[in-house]
């Protein structure tokens, strides 16, 4: 079995298109999106249109829930005023640019999906099985906590996103947690590529994180044209986060430039 898992599109329809192409070239038999189609980038309708026209199964992220149900904010779960300042700008732009025709579809997305392959149960969520906007970072998700999550969710493999930085861990029980990363913006690693997770049941290490190169300069131009903050554009052009920094744990923060 081969499958691709995308997270956090954040309106980056160019990366989404490139990732779909890449996953199919690698022989993906199934492709899933783990939510947060909107936010951050330009042209909010385009990513939705791609996902809908290609019949990609999507898990509802906090953004999809908020936009689809007309909630007052994105529900990202930030606690710092600076993070929330940029979250408000991002959310307003996505709400304004999302066609009314897509709202019922966004509102009706399921909060989790599950499939069984090779006698394993794969549970897909946006943040965590217990909370749509829970951040599962690598350095703040201890083994015992994750064991409890996967046990409660009855998952052999738990797939999530929301943080924007990919990581995976095989737990002492043999169960696995995979944060698939995000297609919407780079992983604060100084690279302009974005990441998704590819599964191949034939491999000893079944999950691989795949870097996706796309026309990031074009995306940056479109963001500038739509007057999105220069801080967002800088992230696309450099690979370093300039916003949503305060939610980063100490180790993840230190790996970045800002």
């Amino acid at each position: 079995m081969r499958a691709a898992f995308f997270g956090g599109i954040y309106n980056n329809y160019l990366a989404l298109g490139a990732a779909l192409q890449d996953a199919r070239r690698r022989g993906a038999e199934a492709i899933y999106c783990l939510g947060d189609i909107g936010g951050f980038g330009p042209c909010p309708d385009r990513s939705i249109e791609i996902l809908r026209s290609e019949n990609i199964p999507v898990v509802q992220g906090n953004y999809d829930d908020s936009v689809g149900n007309g909630r007052p904010d994105c529900g990202c779960g930030y606690t710092d005023p600076r993070d929330n300042h940029y979250a408000r700008i991002s959310y307003a732009h996505t709400v304004e640019g999302t066609s009314a025709a897509h709202l019922p579809w966004l509102a009706g997305l399921p909060p989790r999906r599950e499939v069984s392959w090779v006698a394993k149960r794969f549970i897909m969520v946006h943040g965590s099985p217990r909370q749509v906007n829970e951040f599962l970072w690598e350095t703040t998700s201890p083994d015992d906590f994750l064991e409890r999550l996967v046990l409660d969710a009855r998952a052999d493999v738990l797939l999530c996103t929301h943080t924007g930085i990919p990581w995976q861990r095989e737990l002492p029980s043999g169960r696995r947690v995979v944060n698939v990363g995000a297609l919407g913006r780079p992983a604060n690693d100084g690279r302009t590529e974005v990441w998704y997770a590819f599964y191949d049941s034939e491999r000893v290490q079944p999950f691989e994180f795949v870097p996706v190169a796309y026309d990031y300069r074009r995306l940056a131009r479109e963001m500038q044209r739509e007057k999105l903050p220069e801080e967002f554009v800088e992230t696309i052009l450099t690979g370093w986060w300039t916003t949503c920094l305060e939610i980063l744990p100490a180790k993840e923060r230190m790996r970045g430039r800002y």
Partner: protein, 304 residues
């Protein structure tokens, strides 16, 4: 006699004396706090909400066994993170062992006034930071951008010593979260956060992080701002879900040498003692204490 003094003089009780205040559903244990040094501190800040100081022994140090027992209980409940607080945690003679024990299980944040962070301690912190699998973070308290702003609250000479500690950490490649209590208008102003970040950058901190905290008008602070006398207590109306679910007491508990309490703010209130074990304390509560107004109405969240 103030409620705080009564709390010191009486043994904590498991029974809650009041039933008013909005209910907070205990969702799960995310954060285990440990009052590792009780109320023992090397300074006596004027705004300290649990009246810590060099002679404040009313809540004793936790033994290594007590802390490790709490960690084990937290692990069994699937905790996500641990915070060590006091008092001043670096006064604990076994603080390094306690940090190692926590980091074997979960991410750890130590809440400190920074005054004991000498070169050797900072070297150990940096080594531990890089070696640990889970996040190891520090929260350093600094209540102003000058000694005129900080020292009247934290004590004479503390500004210079805290700045020196932050610079030592920075030189070692670390960036603590600097916590600032809004003890005067200048720090509560809308641009205070931005000015503080600039201030820290000018000190050489590459990735400055700050967290502003509203005043808790209990403990020693009660003498300065007269507590909650002129405020309206929380009623029994339900809180908005977004407020209730993010309160510390919805996903956190604190272990002390005297048992498990609702949160770090209320460890001097016998009625906030929930039992002798985390499992006993893992239940819904009502916000019956005045200080809960600060969390509900001013948005205080003790976690970073």
């Amino acid at each position: 006699m103030s409620e705080v003094v009564r709390a010191i003089e009486h043994e904590p009780t498991q029974e809650s004396s009041a039933v008013t205040g909005p209910r907070v559903n205990f969702r799960w244990l995310d954060t285990l706090w440990a009052q590792v040094t009780g109320t023992l501190c090397n300074i006596a800040c004027r705004h300290c909400f649990i009246t810590c100081g060099p002679k404040a022994h009313d809540i004793p140090l936790m033994t290594v066994e007590q802390v490790e027992d709490a960690l084990e209980q937290g692990r069994a409940l699937g905790m996500r993170q641990v915070y060590y607080t006091g008092g001043e945690p670096f006064l604990h003679p076994e603080i390094r062992r306690l940090a190692t024990s926590a980091l074997a299980l979960a991410p750890l944040t130590i809440v400190t006034n920074g005054l004991l962070l000498d070169d050797e301690t900072v070297k150990w912190i940096a080594e531990t930071f890089h070696q640990s699998r889970y996040s190891f973070d520090l929260r350093v308290s600094l209540d102003g951008m000058s000694h005129e702003q900080n020292d009247p609250v934290r004590g004479r000479g503390t500004f210079a010593n805290i700045i020196a500690a932050i610079q030592r950490l920075s030189t070692a490649g670390l960036s603590p979260v600097v916590t600032v209590v809004e003890h005067e208008e200048g720090l509560a102003a809308v641009d205070a956060r931005t000015r503080f970040l600039v201030f820290l950058r000018e000190l050489g901190v590459r990735q400055p992080r700050v967290k502003f905290l509203p005043l808790l008008r209990i403990g020693r602070e009660e003498r300065r701002t007269h507590g909650y006398k002129n405020t309206r207590p929380l009623g029994t109306e339900e809180l908005l879900p977004d407020v209730e679910s993010t309160l510390l007491c919805a996903t956190g508990r604190i272990a002390t040498a005297q048992g498990i309490y609702t949160c770090p703010i209320l460890i001097k209130y016998p009625s906030a003692r929930l039992g002798g074990s985390l499992a006993e304390g893992a239940h819904d509560i009502r916000l019956e204490w005045d200080a809960c107004q600060t969390c509900v109405l001013e948005g205080l969240r003790c976690n970073t």
